[in-house]
Symmetry: C2
Subunit: 148 residues, 2 copies
């Protein structure tokens, strides 16, 4: 069970932008700070911009910045947006389900409850919680800089 | 986020065997009852036998049966055995993690807590709970028979 790399990169991007609130951040800077693919990040940034989470300013002095305040970016909400598929097993999707016992199955209910518990934890967090105090954010910035 | 088809089939197999406690069940019967791949099921059965969950008796009158009582087969335990990878994101695996902020990252903790909550729900269930009373099991058997 894994989240997609897309979700992983989306979460990392909003954390990076949240810790750099005063300026536009070029995508390259995020890619270098984490040592991850610039190409993948452009797709992630495009999705985050479409979702209204970030703003992408084009041009020579352009870059990314959060379009929402960190207290308003809920982690559970974000993961639901970035994951293409939260159907743990076949019977979660009515259209393609062929299992004959779905109507009476308690396993399905147990898995749905487990997924609900998973998101209940993520729903209790925002980007702001994850970033913490200004001094913690400064520590994160130092760690990113050490990579760049 | 999905469980593997392997986990899905393993869970379905133990439920089927749990509802047919008095005889050896040929793999074909499980495959036909669910309308799923016989070939995949043989691999699932082999893993479940290695894990001591089921017993596979070879020969013309052979088949599968549970090697543990349904009350002893915990769903969380089983899913941990059948999933190849519970590393939601890169930083869950120390060996391959390259993220520079792992040591200070609260996102990692939030995701770990979410995964823990997911398994806490599954850990509260056994195959016996999922099968329910003998009359519920009879209902499941009827649904499987309707497919075969």
């Amino acid at each position: 069970m894994r989240l997609t790399q897309f979700s992983d990169f989306a979460l990392r991007t909003v954390m990076f932008l949240g810790a750099h609130p005063t300026r536009l951040v070029p995508i390259t800077e995020v890619a270098v700070a984490y040592g991850i693919s610039y190409h993948h990040l452009t797709k992630v940034a495009s999705m985050l911009a479409d979702a209204g989470v970030i703003e992408a300013v084009r041009g020579r002095n352009g870059g990314l910045r959060l379009a929402m305040t960190p207290t308003d970016i809920n982690i559970g909400w974000l993961v639901r947006r970035t994951e293409p598929d939260m159907a743990l097993v076949e019977c979660f999707e009515h259209e393609t389900d062929t299992c004959p016992i779905t109507s009476e199955c308690r396993l399905r209910k147990a898995l749905k409850d487990a997924l609900r518990a998973f998101f209940a934890v993520l729903d209790a967090h925002t980007v702001s919680d994850l970033l913490g105090s200004p001094s913690r954010q400064e520590k994160l910035v130092q760690l990113w800089r050490a990579t760049a």
